[in-house]
Structures are given as structure tokens and as C-alpha cells.
Symmetry: C2
Subunit: 341 residues, 2 copies
């Protein structure tokens, strides 16, 4: 089985130069204080009130309260390219130090030139090689350490802030609001399960066991001292994108969610699977229509097209027809990011 | 990848005729009241006290408190054959009604004769066909319904009680004791993940998302009315036995456990992986040395050999050498089963 890399299949490497967002500290007045009043906020509050009211016919027992969130573009910034792919490219120089022969092998040679245009023109096949070389072949603990080190120093090129600070404040509020009401919040991402697990607990309050993502196998064996270890293998078990999202939910959670949040076509199966359950089921999609504070892409509603996190008009129309709520980043969110510390 | 059936690979079909266990109701005086005083009970209490005492150097933060339990032979009876295999054989007549051509096809033809000796001589290849036909090819919900119906009526041939009543009382106490001390209890079984999930919540208080087992893929598609559904496919993603247990723990939980409980060689990798972590780590193995109240098999310590749940002398010696605790069913457990209601 060949490794699949859903989270980079539609890659664009040219970062748009956009004005820096201005945000002023705002005092929280309620638990969804960074949501403007409107249909999106109302849908969230109605859903939670209905499903947690024991007198409601649509009451959901606490054990069944599961809410699932896509990550890239739903909980944090995915443009111009997925953070995990930046990680993979950034790892190449260190990798070439431990395996010097890579310096003369493509596509590693091109990545080492740091020539952005040349890197941007790498084929999917090239990127697959980079992904396999940087995400597999080491112990689980070594990988975790490498990701942690990278996260501590890497910064987003536009905001010059660590990636883990570029989560959406209203979505962070939503995670906490749902948890305060007995919901267990899961990430269900096309990104790498092991990658996201490294920071999800600290960044979102979501523990490793509640991160479902594209997952490779590991192999159990012994190191030279006879100590058992798990090595990450380049064999894909779960491609957690599109139909893989409900399949991954079944594999890892074993319950149909009551609420699902996404931002692109790859989330639509997760949303329709959630909504196909009985009782109150909430499905929401973040529309990136805020070029000033974040990015604007669709191509729904006349927004510019994109290869990363496409939200086509067809998805928009379907959402409207199916009772899925479209969150307008521009209109529904009071702030997008936390103020800089 | 061919379906793997770890939980039936060492099948024996001849049920031993043994005297019915007598058990009188006992009033619980402490939370481990069905454990006799001894090294096993002391090891459990010491482990929990040490890891939950904030002043201890071996304190474990609540988020990291994970305990993993094998199921067959550790939490409930596995002799003379695994309950799940009984289920598969019992399903054949119903299957033959919906697919009449099976009645003339082997190995289904033999199973339909209800001739125990003939069934007992079926090959692994035959059993694989039965397993694939009865565990896959239907929707997740249909499968859950079929297992529920079976559990409601099937009884163990020796005790004439439903399988879900033949869980070990001291292990039920242990699950509750660990949970009362902030541990999340997981099942990590070579049995089918979807099968065990059907009853684990009601039987053990372990929710579906905390059941890790041998798992096949599912496929997401639409029924004739256009409603989304997940169909169970005969493609194995995780063979959750032996090295597959730590691999499954990494895939599904993403944390190394602090306590692990098993009863056979197939659990040894899970126990050594658990013990290889830093700090206090508890590893325990149930030895079935109680032919009167349950079964006696090893072949460790001169007990009769078996093909189901082997506990060889090598494993016993290793446990003693490595600080793993062997639980003697005969000596350490005050009662084995709950009294009949």
C-alpha cells in the first residue's frame, strides 16, 4: 500500500503577501464572546441547549456526546501551505546531515537549495519521498521530539508567530464550550495523526487519544540494548480524508458524532455522516472570506480559487440545502487570533 | 492483506465437562473485596497509591493514567473456545437463510450439520471463511444488532449463563478501583474490536472508544435511498495480538500505559512495552490454575497444556524475573464470578 498524503495533495507553495492583521485585546463577556451574534452562534447555542436538556426529546446522554473537528483551515491556518508540509521540508537539512548521500539525491537536493520556485515545482511523487523520509523510519519518541523542537522555533511567514499561536480564537472557545457541556472533542484530520498528537493537548486541550488522523503503521521491535521500541513505518493504515473521515471515526471512536466542523470538500462526508444520525446533529463549515484578517478562498461565493482547502460553490449550495451552517470568518468572528502576548 | 484471526488461530472445540462452581453472595467490605490478601492485591494497591500520591516521585498526572486489559482469559472466560468464535459458528444458520447457496458449500455445510466432531475438525482456512462471512459484508449497525441479539440468548455450555455474566468479579473490581483513582481503562484484545465494543460498555463500563482490538476496515458509501452507511470489509488493518498490541496502543491511544493485564504469551509484548516506560509500571498475568471454579491450563507450573490462551513455563519464569505479577486464580481470588441473580 503506498503512503497517502491527503494533506498535501493539493499543495500550493506561493505565500500570498497580505497585510498584518490588527487585533486588540477584548474582555470575554460570555463563553462564546468572540462569536458575533448571528445564525452561526445561534445554531451552536441551540444545539447545545437542546442536547443537554434532560427534558428535551433530543437530549443526548453524556457518554454519547462526541464532537469532531477537522484541523487545517478549521482550527488553525492552512494557507499558503499546510504546517506539516513546512515541517517536512524544514526537516530535510537535518536529515541530510544524518544521511549525507541524500544531498546528491533528488528531490532532497532541490529542497536543500532553498530555492522557493524550484521547491514549488516539485511533483507529488517528489513530495511523497520527502514526506516518507521525514515522517517515518524513526522511533515514535524521536519523531515526537523532532516535531516539538520544530514547533518551538518555526514561525508562520506572514504573522511571524509560532504555528500553534495561529489557532482560531472562536473555535478555541467553541471547543471549551462544548467540553463544558459534556462533549468530548476530537480532531479528525487528513493530517498526520502522530504529528497533530504532539501539540493537540497543549494547543487545543485535546489529548492524543482524541486525535484521529491519517495514520501509518508502527513496528514493534527491540533496540540494541534489548529495550522495546516502536518504529514509524511508511505503510498507510488510514487515509483520514473524505470517505476516510467517517471510516476513521468508526475505527478510532466507534460512535457517530453529534456535531462536526470542517471547512472544505474533504470534510463533507464527515458532515453528512454526522447529520444522518437521529436527533439533533450539528454540521458547520468555516468559509474563509476574510482576506484582511486571514485569507479569502473558495471558490464559493466568488472567492478566489485555491488548491488548499477548496470550498466550491457546490459545497456551499449543498450546505444551504442540507441545513449545514456556513460560518463566515468575516461576519461571524469578532476576533480571529489571540492577541500577541 | 488477508484477514487475520488471532483470537481463533489456536482453537479447540471440545468443551471440558467440569463441575459447576458454587458461589455464595459475599458482602463487599472494600473495593477489592474479592481479592485475597497477598502479593497480587498488594502490588495493585501499592501501584495505585504510589502513582496517585502527588508527593510521590512516581506520581502520574491524571491525563497520563492509562491501564490496558486483554479480554479473553483476563476479563472473562476463554475456554473451551473464544465466545466470538461461538458467535461466528452460531451465525451460520441465519446466514444460510439469507444466502441459501451456502447450505451446499463447505465449510458452511458442515457447520449446518451441527455435528460437533466434524466442526471441531475444520481447518483454519475453513474457519477463516466462516469468520469472514459472519463478521463482514454488512453495515456496522446491522452487525451490532446481530451481536446484541446473540448475546441476549446465547449461554455458556458449562455454566448455562450468558457470556457477559462470566466476567471475573475481581477484575471487575480492579477496573472500578483503577477508574476511581483516575485511570482510564482500555481493553486491548486480539478479539474483534467491533464485536467487543457491542457489550464492553454495559459489561465492563468501558466505552467503545476505549476498546482496541483486531480491526478491519469499513467502506463509506450510500444505500439505495442515498443515506450514508459504513460496511464492514474483510480487510485487516490491525492484528491486535502479540507485537500488534503495543502497535495497536500506539495507533488508538498514543500513550504508553502505566498498567497492563493479560493472561497469555500474546500479551507479553504489551506487558514489556508497558514496563519499559519510566516510573511505576504495573504488569500482571492471570494464571488459570483453578479447575474447580473455572479452568486450569498453562502449561506453566505443571498445568495441562492448551491451545487457547497458552501460558508456558517460559512466560512464568520471565514474569518472576521481570517483576511482572502472576495472579493465581485459585489463591488470589475470593470469588471468580458474580453469584447468579
Amino acid at each position: 500500500m503506498k503512503p497517502h498524503i491527503a494533506w498535501m495533495s493539493a499543495l500550493v507553495l506561493a505565500a500570498a503577501a497580505m497585510p498584518l492583521a490588527q487585533s486588540a485585546p477584548v474582555t470575554a463577556t460570555d463563553s462564546l464572546s468572540d462569536w458575533n451574534d448571528g445564525a452561526a452562534k445561534r445554531a451552536i447555542v441551540d444545539f447545545v441547549q437542546t442536547t443537554t436538556d434532560p427534558s428535551s426529546s433530543r437530549f443526548v446522554p453524556p457518554a454519547e456526546r462526541v464532537a469532531v473537528f477537522d484541523q487545517d483551515g478549521t482550527l488553525w491556518v492552512e494557507h499558503p501551505i499546510y504546517a506539516q508540509l513546512v515541517y517536512c521540508l524544514d526537516r530535510v537539512p537535518a536529515l541530510a546531515k544524518t544521511r549525507p548521500q541524500l544531498a546528491s539525491e533528488e528531490p532532497f537536493k532541490t529542497v536543500l537549495t532553498a530555492n522557493r520556485a524550484a521547491i514549488a515545482s516539485l511533483s507529488s511523487q517528489d513530495l511523497l519521498k520527502i514526506v516518507a523520509a521525514t515522517l517515518t523510519g524513526m522511533s515514535v519518541e524521536q519523531f515526537q521530539g523532532e516535531v516539538k523542537s520544530w514547533l518551538a522555533t518555526a514561525v508562520d511567514p506572514r504573522w511571524k508567530r509560532p504555528y500553534t499561536q495561529l489557532t482560531y480564537l472562536p473555535m478555541q472557545e467553541l471547543l471549551k464550550y462544548l467540553r463544558a457541556n459534556g462533549y468530548r472533542t476530537y480532531i479528525v484530520t487528513g493530517g498526520g495523526q502522530d504529528f497533530v498528537r504532539v501539540y493537540a493537548e497543549q494547543t487545543y486541550g485535546i489529548p492524543p487519544e482524541q486525535v484521529v488522523g491519517s495514520a501509518g503503521s508502527s513496528s514493534y521491535h527491540y533496540d540494541q540494548s534489548g529495550k522495546p521500541m516502536l518504529t514509524k513505518e511508511p505503510k498507510l493504515l488510514l487515509n483520514d480524508d473524505s470517505t476516510g473521515k467517517p471510516e476513521g471515526i468508526q475505527l478510532m471512536i466507534g460512535r457517530r458524532p453529534y456535531a462536526a466542523f470542517g471547512n472544505s470538500s474533504g470534510d463533507s462526508q464527515m458532515l453528512e455522516y454526522t447529520r444522518a444520525g437521529e436527533g439533533a446533529r450539528l454540521a458547520m463549515l468555516v468559509l474563509h472570506d476574510d482576506a484582511h484578517r486571514e485569507y479569502a478562498y473558495g471558490p464559493a461565493q466568488g472567492l478566489p480559487d485555491t488548491k488548499v482547502g477548496r470550498f466550491p460553490q457546490e459545497l456551499y449550495d449543498r450546505a444551504k440545502k442540507s441545513g449545514w451552517i456556513v460560518i463566515s470568518m468575516k461576519d461571524d468572528w469578532r476576533r480571529v487570533f489571540s492577541p500577541e502576548q
